[in-house]
Symmetry: C2
């Protein structure tokens, strides 16, 4: 009988912190029959203020570690690392690598009827214009809006809080003003935002669809795995599934394992237990 690590894929998920756990959560829904290794570079976050070279260096180091632990497919669940380091990671990895930006842009393109999308994200993501480029390449008009207070509000745990609602109303009324008034998609370009999706739904104009990069990325991973099991591409994976058994989750954090466990449980919506502190050389 084959061991689980042979019969089901091992997926490595990388983020600078805990935000990428919303991508892991979407993956657990879409691809429950997998082993997951999650790496949070919590000691060196935020990546947003770092140079492209530094972000690439850190990200490549982390995904190498994930590969040493057995990852056969890599998900860069970090907008900054995807924007600044995806090509470097692809060159270094030698396995398939999926970032969060292309799947998000693709999903928004499919949903938008009038080809006008509002993207919200951190200051760093918006300044990189990575979503703008991905959407404009698909002939979609884009309004980008930085929402720097959403991450700290989510980290404070105020996901259904009147303050967060008030902040969201201010940000979104700016985002959907003037030439973006008739945009019909709101693209969540930050891994923290799925936690306030119900609140954002309340304050977003009714005709606007909300597209979530985390969810879109999980769909893309599911598609890639399907193509593997259909024998279209490498690597050859058995199609055996572990019906009914819980997926195997392991976590690696460069800052305190205890802090990761506490914050991570909130982001994943599941108890985060098996956390190993990792010290990567600079």
């Amino acid at each position: 009988m084959p061991t689980p690590s042979v019969s089901i894929p091992t997926i490595g998920v990388f983020d600078s912190g805990v935000g990428g756990l919303t991508v892991l959560r979407a993956l657990l829904d879409r691809v429950p029959d997998a082993n997951y290794l999650y790496f949070g570079d919590t000691a060196r976050l935020p990546y947003g203020s770092k140079s492209a070279a530094t972000v690439a260096h850190y990200t490549v180091g982390a995904v190498r570690y994930l590969q040493e632990q057995g990852a056969e497919l890599l998900v860069i669940a970090c907008n900054t690392a995807t924007a600044l380091a995806l090509d470097d990671v692809k060159r270094a990895a030698g396995v398939e690598v999926i970032g969060v930006i292309e799947p998000g842009a693709e999903a928004a393109t499919l949903v938008s009827k009038n080809r006008k999308v509002v993207v919200i994200g951190t200051e760093a993501t918006v300044s990189s214009h990575a979503y703008r480029h991905a959407l404009e390449a698909r002939k979609i008009a884009v309004r980008e809006k930085a929402c720097p207070l959403f991450v700290p509000l989510v980290e404070e745990g105020w996901v259904e809080h009147p303050v967060t609602e008030q902040v969201a109303r201010i940000y979104l009324s700016e985002a959907f003003s003037k030439e973006a008034r008739d945009a019909d998609v709101l693209l969540l370009g930050c891994t923290h935002y799925p936690l306030i999706k119900p609140l954002l739904r309340q304050v977003t104009p009714e005709h606007v669809a909300i597209v979530d990069s985390a969810e879109s990325t999980a769909q893309e991973v599911a598609r890639r795995l399907e193509s593997w099991t259909m024998g279209k591409t490498k690597p050859p994976l058995a199609s055996t599934t572990r019906a009914g058994s819980a997926p195997h989750l392991r976590f690696f954090a460069t800052d305190s394992a205890e802090k990761f466990r506490a914050m991570g449980t909130r982001f994943l919506g599941l108890s985060v237990e098996d956390v190993l502190h990792v010290d990567l050389k600079e």
Copy 2:
């Protein structure tokens, strides 16, 4: 006639970012007759999530740079660096070093009548318990309260905003609850907070005095310089003053000089011009 660098002191101010500019602003009021060198380690912030060894390593590197530029007195205008690295900096520097925690704790002690103080700061500062230790050593009872949303609210520029007022009411009602109800001092243990001091004054109970670490640190610097000019301690400095002339300000930032200029001007309340990008080796 002596050159300015001989006749007036050159003071090096260090912070992980722009927050320490509130300390520089207080210094400009208290000690206008000085040259100032400000170092913001903006590429490597925040220090709060880093190990003590890393913070000490970065801080020592930065103050060495300030000394190479001529700093004769060093101000560590960063709560995390003061909490984790002040002793290392003192050992490495060979000149006088003043942190923000002791002056803040001392000022709060002098002001508090019933010897009960509420300290607010970032999660990292509160977790370090540096203010608690400094105040308890002075027989002051302490309530520490982390206010993680204040920094992003200030950085968003919402210093007189209804959202910030609402957040402040929530934090302060928690801070002054139960056994801290009769505390009579609110100690601002974060360099960002002086920018919302007028708003905090509005929502803090009337009987409570607000003590600001930035202001207290500037007072301490003024006292040290007085003792120099009175010949009590080294180094020998001429007491010549440059009445009427603007103090000479130079800034060094490890991230983009342009970003530092834009954000810095808001924090300093003066135009930040002479910014040099510095790349320190790890």
